[in-house]
């Protein structure tokens, strides 16, 4: 196995993993703050992929740029969904909430199937096949741009949670819900904002993703599972955990696809998931629940 092939694959894994990480970050915010098991997270991401593809094919808008308005639109969508539909489920038995989101996922996926059909959609940006040479290895420009976008958004979110009042309030809700209520935080509004942020991440990730892979409706469930795997492996409630988990999974899958075979690559993620669930449920970086 030539070392530069391995290096190339590794770099690819890292870059793609960063975009996965952004998607997972959104789930971490939703799952960790609002405590909603968003089984439709992958579905929303794929919805964003279609949205970006649509904008690209109709308006010629580069998906990497479309990520911003799409993220914004998804924020509004998330806010509305949480406030309108999901809020009653936050304090209900977990399995009900679950099933509700599963239902929502089914509705989304099949709506996409109805509207767009099962064929794959891809955004062929003009620089899709360009790459840079970094020493002995080739790095795809699209991957770098997508990864850069992911990092930018994550950094912005990090700053938001660290330095703004609203961000801090949201972190308080995640930390200690009853305490947050006791000090008078408007938990309903904060939950809605958090859900909005979570979906915005999914939206941005989807837009970035459409230059990397094709959009088909049946990608959605595997994205959901991937997002949960990353969040669990990286650690619930940890932003760096989500990113690190994304990179880890991205690299692991990339390596697995050349060491074993491409069809077996998700086995690695599952193996990781099972191991983490059993032995270190708080994930690599997360806090103990």
């Amino acid at each position: 196995m030539p070392p530069d092939l391995i290096a190339e694959v590794l770099v690819q894994g890292v870059l793609t993993g960063l975009v996965y990480g952004l998607m997972a970050l959104g789930l971490s915010v939703i799952f960790g703050v609002v405590r909603v098991v968003n089984f439709a997270h992958g579905e929303f991401t794929v919805l964003a992929m279609y949205a970006a593809w649509f904008l690209f094919s109709r308006l010629g808008l580069d998906p990497l740029i479309a990520a911003a308005p799409i993220a914004l639109a998804f924020f509004v969508l998330g806010y509305g969904l949480q406030r309108g539909l999901i809020a009653p489920f936050v304090r209900r038995p977990e399995h009900l909430q679950f099933i509700y989101m599963v239902g929502m996922a089914i509705v989304l996926v099949n709506a996409l199937l109805l509207v767009f059909g099962p064929d794959a959609r891809h955004a062929d940006v003009p620089y899709a096949f360009d790459s840079w040479r970094l020493g002995p290895i080739l790095v795809d420009k699209v991957r770098v741009f997508a990864a850069a976008g992911a990092i930018l958004i994550c950094a912005a979110l990090f700053a938001f949670f660290r330095y703004t009042l609203v961000g801090t309030a949201i972190r308080a809700c995640a930390d200690n819900l009853i305490g947050a209520e006791v000090v008078g935080l408007d938990v309903g509004r904060l939950f809605a904002i958090a859900f909005g942020i979570g979906l915005a991440c999914a939206g941005a990730a989807g837009a970035l993703m459409v230059v990397l892979s094709d959009a088909t409706p049946n990608l959605a469930p595997s994205f959901t599972l991937l997002a949960f795997t990353i969040v669990i492996v990286g650690g619930l409630g940890s932003m760096t955990g989500a990113l690190a988990g994304g990179v880890l999974i991205g690299v692991a899958e990339a390596l697995a696809s050349i060491v074993f075979s491409p069809s077996l690559k998700s086995m690695v993620s599952f193996a990781l998931l099972v191991v983490v669930l059993a032995l270190r449920p708080q994930g690599l970086i997360g806090r103990r629940a």
């Binding site: 089914i106 599972l225 059993a278 032995l279």
Partner: protein, 334 residues
């Protein structure tokens, strides 16, 4: 959750069931092939829903990867028949055993390491997916291309190989659904059934009463897996083909849980009612869109998703408990 401690089944329900049973047994006299196939689907859904319900309704464990057992059993029974000519009536034994093994593995992993709730559900999904990939790469079972059971005049009439027309499968499915109902009714009244209820309500309190929670939970997973495996064998020989992408898919797992959740988790009649409501509804929708000349792939599933959302919001215990209260009159004690 009611049931344990009361008389087996109330007289009214028993009479109603007997009537329904008689109707269903006689139905093929008037039904054409299409309606037979719809009923087969209803019976199959009721059966597999009842099997899933054992884990969720009785022991409180959410499995979103039940397609695993359908797929494993389907593949094993079908492969044994295709390669060795082994009758599925015998082939179901290794199929069920394999499923019980998988169930035990998932259960042990989950319970030994205290994996619960959403994490347990994710575990079941991951197992189903991993198994799909494994079967994708297994040539003995046809890989991703699928496994086919030949349908030829040479084997026609070999009921022991489940070769036959829709009538054979109709009565087989009906018998399975009825047997599952009776089996679960008996289970609910057994010591194991009582312990399941206790563990579902409050595992710590159950432990303090001497209930081995791990054993009891494991039992529910294994029983559920064994029951589901038979549905897998049926599936393989009814459709005569098995594809990894179809049979292990999460949408199959979700199909399995639709009827019991909408009908009523934890009740005996829930899965049956759910199946009888959902399948015809879906067929109606399909017929409607076809009549209008629309091509709408996924519309049926979309409807199911909506139903799920509505039921969970408005009637979380399911349609059956509501219906039961309505029929009984609200002044009677539950």
């Amino acid at each position: 959750m009611n049931g344990a401690g009361r008389s087996f089944i109330s007289r009214e329900k028993a009479v109603a069931l007997a009537l329904l049973g008689a109707l269903l047994v006689a139905a093929p006299l008037v039904l054409d092939r299409y309606f037979l196939s719809v009923f087969i689907l209803v019976f199959w859904s009721a059966y597999v829903g009842q099997a899933w319900n054992v884990m969720m309704g009785f022991a409180g464990l959410l499995s979103l990867g039940h397609a695993l057992y359908v797929g494993v059993a389907a593949y094993i029974a079908a492969a044994l028949y295709v390669h060795f000519g082994l009758s599925p009536l015998i082939g179901l034994i290794p199929a069920a055993a394999a499923c019980m093994g998988f169930g035990a593995a998932i259960g042990w992993l989950g319970f030994r390491f205290r994996i619960e709730g959403v994490y347990f559900a994710l575990l079941t999904i991951a197992f189903a997916e991993a198994t799909r990939i494994a079967f994708d790469n297994s040539d003995w079972t046809g890989g991703a291309g699928g496994l086919f059971i030949s349908v030829s005049s040479a084997t026609a009439g070999q009921w022991w190989n489940l070769r036959g027309g829709p009538l054979l499968f109709y009565y087989l499915a009906l018998a399975m659904a009825a047997a599952a109902f009776l089996f679960c009714a008996l289970l609910m009244r057994s010591p194991l059934g009582y312990r399941w209820l206790a563990v579902r309500e409050d595992p710590e309190a159950a432990r303090a009463l001497g209930v081995d929670v791990l054993r009891v939970r494991l039992a529910s997973v294994i029983v559920s897996a064994a029951m589901t495996s038979l549905a897998g064998v049926f599936y393989a020989f009814y459709y005569n083909n098995v594809f990894t992408g179809q049979i292990f898919d999460i949408s199959r797992s979700i199909e399995i849980i639709l009827a019991p959740i909408i009908g009523g988790v934890g009740t005996l009649f829930g899965p049956i009612l759910g199946a009888f409501v959902l399948i015809p509804l879906g067929q109606l929708l399909l017929w409607g869109t076809q009549a209008l000349g629309l091509d709408a792939p996924g519309l049926e599933a979309l409807l199911y998703g909506l139903c799920l959302m509505i039921i969970v919001t408005r009637a979380p215990e399911g349609v059956w408990p509501r219906l039961e209260r309505l029929l009984r009159g609200k002044d009677e004690a539950p």
